[in-house]
């Protein structure tokens, strides 16, 4: 059975936020919802400041608090390590959101509007889109996945239901990598199978020292960070996205 994990190299990340954009387009996430989010941090006092960046997808924890607390089992852990949200079963209690130490859950406070970002019907865009399927029409997002046949890919976005990063389950099931890893221009984000000793993620973790966010919380996340250090109390976020529905 595969054991998926993500490895993010903080020494390569330049804070361009292309991963955020790619995730949005791939999963058609609604306004102000950031399944992938990139922190811009500043430490120290001027003139001795240092700015660095931290991409934050869902951690897909092995000891996920969100899985433990879901009252109806809509949030569950797959054998391959992905923590999935069944948007047909979710009752919108938001317990997973308060339980998550990383703040990766997004509740749909209203019915999201489709077609937020680009009018794919615009004739001028024809040469650009080349008749590609718009994200909100991607049938992969609506399909059920896994032997349990649950709808866990990005198609949900229903009013009153929770959603979060799915590690692009609809792409992973087809053998592709996640949208954020695909889009990163400096290959800072790697996704792969830890059970495969030759995968990039396995080799990176063997070679370089790494850490995980909030280790002391005991959640055993599946996202590893190379280089850099965990954001402690002296770190401040700057240029945060001002996004509130």
């Amino acid at each position: 059975m595969a054991k998926y994990a993500m490895v993010i190299d903080l020494e390569r990340c330049v804070g361009c936020r292309a991963c955020m954009e790619a995730c949005k387009v791939e999963n058609d996430t609604p306004q102000a919802v950031f399944w992938m989010y990139v922190f811009r941090f500043e430490e120290g006092r001027y003139p001795n400041t240092r700015v660095w960046f931290l991409p934050r997808p869902c951690m897909h924890c092995d000891n996920a608090p969100c899985v433990k607390v879901c009252p109806v089992g809509a949030r569950y852990k797959r054998p391959d390590g992905l923590v999935a949200t069944d948007w047909e079963r979710c009752i919108g209690c938001r317990y997973c959101e308060v339980a998550c130490p990383y703040g990766v859950n997004y509740f749909n406070w209203k019915a999201p509007e489709k077609n937020y970002y680009l009018d794919w019907k615009d004739r001028d865009l024809g040469p650009v889109t080349h008749g590609a399927t718009p994200p909100y029409k991607n049938p992969d997002l609506e399909k059920p996945y896994g032997p349990e046949r649950r709808r866990i890919a990005g198609g949900g976005h229903l009013k009153g239901v929770i959603e979060k990063c799915t590690f692009c389950v609809h792409r992973v099931e087809k053998g592709q990598t996640t949208a954020c890893a695909q889009a990163c221009p400096v290959f800072a984000i790697q996704f792969g199978d830890l059970e495969d000793p030759n995968s990039t993620v396995s080799r990176l973790l063997k070679k370089r020292p790494h850490f995980r966010l909030l280790e002391e919380a005991g959640t055993q996340p599946r996202v590893f960070y190379l280089g850099g250090h965990p954001p402690g109390g002296e770190v401040r976020q700057i240029e945060g996205v001002k996004a509130r529905v």
């Binding site: 950031f34 109806v72 919108g92 209690c93 938001r94 209203k110 239901v161 919380a217 996205v241």
Partner: protein, 432 residues
């Protein structure tokens, strides 16, 4: 029978049952209007989604995802637990002085449990799905399993049974009057005959029910505390003290509200004899002990957070003591300390003053609401373990309206019950 005759038939019923006064009718109309307004607010929320509330996502959206609805759910559940526990203690410890308020307390439990269930439903994003998915899929590992099955469903059933059984004798006595409500009383009495054997059986059953209620109350309210206390990702929630503090504050708010209700009924029914100072002295003493116990918890929590602790725990303590939430915190502490002082004064001098007790009851309930709010909200807006930056939560008219509507619903149900069934035990001599 003429209308005059009808009215005169109700004249003889005890405790104002059946006598619909103008004042009562006006109250019911006003409460119905408030309930209607709350329902309208809920319909807005149901149609447009929770975007009409002040709640927003934790993290990048800088909001609180659990707000007034959850705070009041905890508040109502707390009051419910206290109501039935007072009733149970009366029977277990033979507190004859408090027998007059037993049914008031039982009714308080049933009604506030209903309100608690409604406030959770108001909070859910997909309430209709929940009505099916919770009984179908509920997982025991989630603390919500306990709150849904034990704290709401189980407790509601339990307190309805208790209210029913405890009221059988009075239903039998009321059925001896010739009134239009006779079929109801007969059905409630269900063949009760006031024989010594029956009375003994009734005493045994209610005694054992009372014993069963105490562990149920502690388990049910503890699961509610565990909903918060087990969350390692939320500084301020993750604490072993959370659950016992919940239980004690439940007692404070419940006894306080019972005091207020008893005083209102005393005035309305002019029952200065039955609801005399004896009753209020006991309730006041209970309230004093519970309030002091809760203040002790507050002191311990603040001291611990202040003295040492995780970076986040210290931050939370500072936030409460002199940060954004200081007004609510100090307001709640004052609204607990002041009644504690007043109650202590009355206990020491031995002179219990009913208006002062009512004021204490109101103050501790306001404090309980404030403390529930302080438990639910600051840990979400300010206590993210990752450095998202502070958030804010400002409830909107929708949330306030729904909460007001819930209180109005509770008062309405109470007012209706009082006119249909005697709110206190019917004395034997009252029956002709």
């Amino acid at each position: 029978m003429t209308a005059r005759g009808e009215a005169s038939r109700f004249e003889t019923l005890p405790y104002g049952v059946g006598r619909l006064t103008g004042g009562w009718a006006l109250l019911v109309v006003a409460l119905l209007a408030l309930v209607g307004w709350g329902a309208y607010a809920y319909s807005c929320q149901f149609v447009e989604g929770k975007v009409v509330t002040g709640m927003r996502n934790i993290g990048t959206m800088g909001g609180a995802t659990w707000g007034l609805y959850i705070a009041f759910n905890v508040y109502f559940a707390g009051v419910a637990c206290a109501g039935i526990t007072v009733a149970a203690l009366i029977r277990l410890l033979n507190l004859n002085a408090l027998r007059a308020v037993a049914r008031m307390a039982e009714l308080l439990t049933v009604i506030t449990l209903i309100l608690g269930a409604f406030s959770v439903l108001a909070d859910l994003g997909q309430p209709l799905r929940a009505l099916i998915n919770l009984p179908l899929y509920a997982r025991p590992q989630s603390p919500f399993f306990g709150t849904f099955t034990l704290a709401i469903a189980g407790f509601l059933f339990d307190s309805l049974v208790y209210l029913y059984l405890a009221g059988r004798r009075d239903a039998y006595l009321m059925a001896r009057y010739d009134t239009p409500l006779r079929p109801l009383y007969r059905a409630w009495a269900a063949g009760y005959r006031d024989t010594p054997a029956e009375r003994e059986r009734h005493r045994k059953t209610t005694f054992w029910l009372a014993i069963a209620i105490i562990p149920l109350f502690i388990t049910a309210h503890s699961t509610l505390g565990l909903v918060f206390g087990l969350q390692v990702g939320r500084p301020g929630w993750y604490s072993a003290l959370q659950t016992p503090a919940f239980v004690v504050l439940a007692g404070v708010s419940g006894v306080g509200l019972l005091l207020v209700i008893a005083a209102i009924l005393r005035g309305y029914l002019r029952e200065e004899q039955r609801l005399g100072t004896g009753v209020f002295r006991w309730l006041g003493a209970f309230l004093l002990v519970l309030t002091l116990a809760y203040l002790y918890f507050v002191v311990v929590k603040v001291l611990t957070g202040f003295y040492a602790g995780h970076h986040h725990e210290q931050q939370l303590t500072q936030l409460l003591l002199w940060g954004a939430y200081a007004p609510v915190f100090w307001g709640s502490v004052l609204l607990l300390a002041l009644p504690a002082g007043l109650l202590l004064l009355q206990a020491i001098t031995g002179r219990w003053n009913i208006p002062a007790l009512v004021a204490c009851g109101v103050m501790v309930n306001l404090a309980a609401i404030g403390k529930r709010y302080l438990i639910v909200v600051p840990s979400q807006t300010h206590m993210s373990l990752l450095p998202y930056g502070p958030g804010f939560y400002a409830p909107t008219w929708v949330e306030y309206s729904i909460i007001v509507g819930l209180f109005a619903l509770g008062a309405l149900l109470y007012a209706l019950f009082v006119k249909v069934f005697p709110i206190m035990d019917v004395p034997e001599e009252g029956v002709r």
